[in-house]
Structure formats: C-alpha cells, structure tokens
C-alpha cells in the first residue's frame, strides 16, 4: 500500500509499505479516505519528538471505511464509515473508566508519560498512522465512531482531533460569562479554541499569532480580535494594556514547543534542544493572565523539561490545566454544534493533496506557504468502491 514514510527531520515521502494486518482480536483494518496533517505532526517532521523511527507513518487525524475486523469486534462491521479519534485507548483501564481516553494505560508499553496516539512516534506507542491507504485500528469496538449520514466527511475528519482539542482547550480554561480569553496560536486548534470560547460565554476573545493570513482568517471565522505579536514589544504588557491592566481571565496555549517570538527560547528549545521545545507561549500565558486566572495548555511539548516562570504562576494563584484531548467524550456535543450551524469545521480546510505528494504537503504546511491552514491528504484508494472483496467473498 502507499503510505507516508518518515526518513528524518524535514524528510518524508510516499512509499510502498506492507498492508497492516489484524494483530489482536479487537483490531480492525480501516481503508483511509481522508487524513489530515496536524500541527503537532510538524514536531515529528522537525525531529523534535524522541523515538521517532525512520519508516514511521504519521497521521492521527483520519477517517475511513472498515475493511476487516478481528474476531472480537461485534459493533463495527465491514463497510462502516468511521471517524477514528487520535487516542488509541482500551475503554477499560482506570483512566478510560474516568473518561480520560487520552491517558489510557493499556495501549502504550513504551511510555507512561503519554497515552497512545496513532502515528506519533514510539514514545506514543509505536502505531503507524493514517496517512496511508490502510491503518490498523486497535479496540475497534471502543474508539471509532460510525459517521452519521448527515455529517460531511470533511467535518468528520476534523472531529478526530483538531476540533475536540480546541474545544477542550476552552473547556479547561473554565470560561465564565464575560471572561476575556486570549488564545495563542491561530492554527486549526487555536481557531477552534477561539470559536469554542464564545460557545462557553466569553466576553472577549483575542487570538495572537505572527502569520497575517491566519490572523485575518480567524478574525472573520471566529469573530475575534487579533494581535500580531511581531508588532508588539512585549506580549504580556500588551495584553495587560488591552485588559485595563488586569490581564486576561483565561490564556490558552495552542502552539506548543515550536513557538516563535523569543530568540533565546527558540535557540534553547528548538535549535539546540536544551529544553523540550520553546516555552515562549507558556511564558506569555503565565505572565499575561490575571491573578487567579486560568491557563489551559493543549500545545504539545516534549517529555524532558522546560524553563517556565512557575514562580509567577504560584504567586498569581493561577490554575494550570492541560491534557491531550479525550476526543470520544466530546463527539456527541460537537456534532450537535455542527448540526446547529454553530461551528463549520470544514471551513478551515485550505488544501487537498494526493497522498503521493505528501512531501510537498508537509513542506507547505510547515512553512506556512500558499496561505495554508489545514491540509487533507487523499489516498489513492479513498474513493474505491468495495467491490473487490465482496466479489471474492461471493
């Protein structure tokens, strides 16, 4: 099958690989019809995530058609069209029992610091991802959701990560009516976090980034204020001036470890990897939020350590909340929002690229070329009608 193939930092290509097989009775094999490139895939692409092995196939945002199921799969059947949350989870461990599906303890042998994620290095479990024609989906009765007929495929694929993560970012901010919410990052997750902040009753939403076309997009899409941090001398000071010297009630980090905006952080966090990524946005969040405010972190950082002003967080009495999104528990409510027209996820999609051109797709997304916001990869067999296996079975 054709699959994205990681060859080293900044190097990926589409290659032929063996098709995945059922390895556990709870597995399914899904033929991918759409897969996104996520902003967090760029951390892998840039070689920043430990234990990212050559040959790995990325992709934790994908939908597809069930092609084969293991002997213990009873809820899904061949031919079902499913969206697959990015979390690989069992549904029965302590954490899954508490709806923390992003923190499952039964699917990742190689790390306790992170749950399992499709196509996100061996630190996240060593599962190949969905930027391929086929993908192995463990615990198929638990994780995947059959896509309702009235939900567009482009909306469905954004329900696998970007939208739930943005929504959870706002949710973890514990937004109260009238709150001022600052979202750092105008990528897909930041865009959805801004949109979600309004749903939760924010009084003011401000999005910060340096990419003008993204700021322009989010200003219109999420009806928010925007700030280009390149035009600001000091981010925390600017936010305080914007908020009558109080600071924001809630700050959201939707950027993570490759933040621009502070040369020293970039040198120590990205170029020399002396810390687990540039903690620029963590600084901005902690120093821009008001005393007693909330900081919500969904931007991804590495597993080692970061230099952050934790003393300020203490002295300001902040609440810091963070997690990988627990996608599955958000889906029913988010589907209601889509049906009600409150959110139009597919509107953020700017690029559709054949999987064969994955190298260019990554470069465009990584370098923010061609006004790229969200890229969808289309595998060659995405639109194949399932006639071959059916005719063999007959």
């Amino acid at each position: 099958m054709l699959a994205m193939n990681y060859r080293g930092p900044y190097r990926v290509r589409a290659d032929q690989k063996p098709e995945p097989v059922i390895e556990h009775p709870g597995d399914a094999i899904v033929r991918v019809t759409r897969a996104c490139i996520c902003g967090s895939d760029l951390h892998l692409y840039h070689g920043l995530v430990p234990d990212t092995r050559v040959g790995h196939t990325f992709g934790h945002e994908f939908i597809g058609i069930v092609e084969e199921v293991g002997s213990d799969v009873h809820k899904l059947k061949v031919g079902d069209k499913v969206l697959v949350p990015f979390n690989v989870f069992c549904g029965s461990c302590f954490f899954c029992q508490h709806e923390l599906y992003g923190n499952c303890h039964s699917t990742n042998s190689q790390s306790t610091a992170v749950g399992a994620i499709y196509g996100y290095s061996h630190t996240a479990g060593g599962y190949d991802g969905g930027q391929a024609e086929y993908v192995r989906v463990p615990m198929a009765d638990v994780g995947p959701m059959i896509i309702p007929d009235d939900i567009h495929d482009d909306d469905a694929v954004l329900l696998t990560d970007a939208l739930p993560t943005g929504y959870q970012a706002a949710e973890m901010g514990d937004i109260k009516e009238g709150d001022t919410v600052v979202v750092f990052g105008a990528g897909p997750v930041g865009i959805f976090a801004a949109k979600s902040a309004w749903l939760m009753g924010a009084g003011r939403v401000i999005v910060v980034d340096e990419i003008e076309y993204r700021l322009e997009f989010v200003k219109n899409y999420a009806q928010c204020e925007v700030v280009n941090f390149k035009e600001v001398r000091d981010m925390a000071l600017h936010i305080k001036k914007m908020t009558d010297w109080m600071g924001a009630d809630v700050c959201i980090d939707a950027v993570g470890c490759e933040a621009a905006g502070n040369t020293m952080q970039t040198i120590t966090g990205v170029y020399t990897m002396m810390q687990a990524g540039a903690a620029t946005v963590l600084h901005w969040c902690i120093n821009s939020v008001r005393k007693g405010g909330n900081v919500s972190i969904v931007g991804v950082y590495g597993p080692t350590f970061n230099a952050v002003p934790i003393g300020n967080a203490l002295n300001k009495g902040l609440t810091l909340r963070m997690n990988q999104a627990s996608v599955r528990r958000h889906l029913p409510r988010l589907i209601e929002h889509i049906r009600a027209g409150r959110i139009d996820p597919k509107a953020i999609i700017t690029h559709r690229v054949p999987l064969e051109e994955v190298s260019d797709a990554y470069h465009i997304f990584s370098s923010k070329l061609d006004n790229c916001i969200k890229t969808i990869l289309i595998p060659p067999r995405a639109n194949e009608v399932r006639a071959v296996k059916a005719s063999i079975a007959a």
Binding site: T52, S92, M139
Partner: protein, 197 residues
C-alpha cells in the same frame, strides 16, 4: 454582593470610552482606576456572536467535571483486553510492570539505533538520559535509513523529500535565498580551505 452584571454596568459607566473589541495601541498609557476590575460586555453586546453561550451552562460541557465514571459515549468492554501476542521486539518502559495488553508493532528496534534504544529503555522515563539517548538513536536511524535506501538500490531524492517542488511553486524568493545562502556557505568553506593550503 457585587454580581458580574453589576461589574459590567459599573464599568460601562465609568469606562465607556472602551467598546468591547477595541484595544489600545502599545504606546497607550492606560487609565488610573480607583478599583480595577475586569470589564464584562453585556449579553446584548455579544448577541452578534454566532453560537455565543451555547455551552455557558457547565452541564453542557462534556469535559466537566474532568473525570466522570462510568464512561459515557463508548461501548465499554467487558474487562481488560486480551493480551496481544508479541511477534516483534517491543521495548517497555521501566516505569511499567510489563507490556501493556495492546501495543504497536511497527519499526521494531534494529541496527545501531536499536542498540541505543535498548540502552535508553534500561533507564527510567524520569531520567533525562533516557530521552536524550532516544534522540541520539533517532539521528543514527536517519543515517541508517539512507544506508537502507542505497542498499536497496534507491538513491533518496532528499530535495524532493523536503518538498522542493512546493518551495519552487509557492516561495521562489525563499528558495533563491536558500540557494544563495548555500552557495555562500560552500563558497566560503572552499575559499578558506584553499587559503590554508
């Protein structure tokens, strides 16, 4: 007791020159407030926001409270998953009692990078050397990957893998700068080497 709406109306009265959505320029010196308090726009001022307040009530937020049991919205399996059979080497964190019931099997450790990874997995995740060794292994693995390509008769097209076609299509100026920079670096290196001789 002062409610949020009281704060809003108080702020509206004495700070009416700031409409919601407006913000100061960086050079703005601000106001001196007797009692600084967050400004809160009224619901009427927010009425134009699509979907505003749909999840204002916390019971509509699926992640509140953060931990809920029993789990909703999934088919809860009967008991733990059966253990997956191990056909390839899977490294296991020392911070676990053993393999998890389910695990990924792709790209098992191999070669020099595999040896380094095995060493890394003798250390705990709490030990930073664990992660640093894995990063070293990743870089070694990258070189091994080029070797594998060559061994299988394939010369990796590194520029294509890095998306040079897209760079040419969408960022010709950037590409020209990179080429110029590359030529300058190589030219300087050649010049310095020649001068030493």
């Amino acid at each position: 007791m002062q409610t949020r709406n009281d704060i809003v109306s108080a702020n509206d009265q004495h700070d009416g020159d700031h409409a919601p959505g407006e913000h100061d320029n960086d050079g703005h010196v601000g106001h001196v407030h007797g009692a600084i308090a967050p400004r809160r726009p009224t619901r009427a001022q927010l009425a134009h926001i699509q979907g505003w307040g749909a999840d204002l009530d916390r019971k509509d937020r699926p992640g509140v409270p953060m931990e809920r049991t029993p789990p909703r919205f999934i088919n809860v399996p009967d008991g733990d998953p059966a253990p997956q059979e191990e056909h390839v080497e899977v490294l296991v964190s020392t911070e676990r009692p053993g393999r998890t019931p389910l695990f990924g099997t792709v790209q098992p450790p191999s070669g020099l990078s595999g040896m380094i990874r095995r060493q890394a997995f003798k250390l705990t995740e709490n030990d930073v050397r664990h992660w640093l060794l894995l990063l070293v292994a990743d870089r070694v693995n990258m070189v091994e990957g080029i070797g594998e390509d060559l061994a299988s008769g394939k010369i990796p097209n590194v520029l294509a893998e890095m998306g040079i076609k897209a760079e040419f299509q969408h960022n010709k100026a950037g590409l020209a700068k990179k080429v110029a920079l590359g030529v300058a670096v190589v030219g300087t290196a050649v010049y310095l080497m020649k001068r030493r001789r």
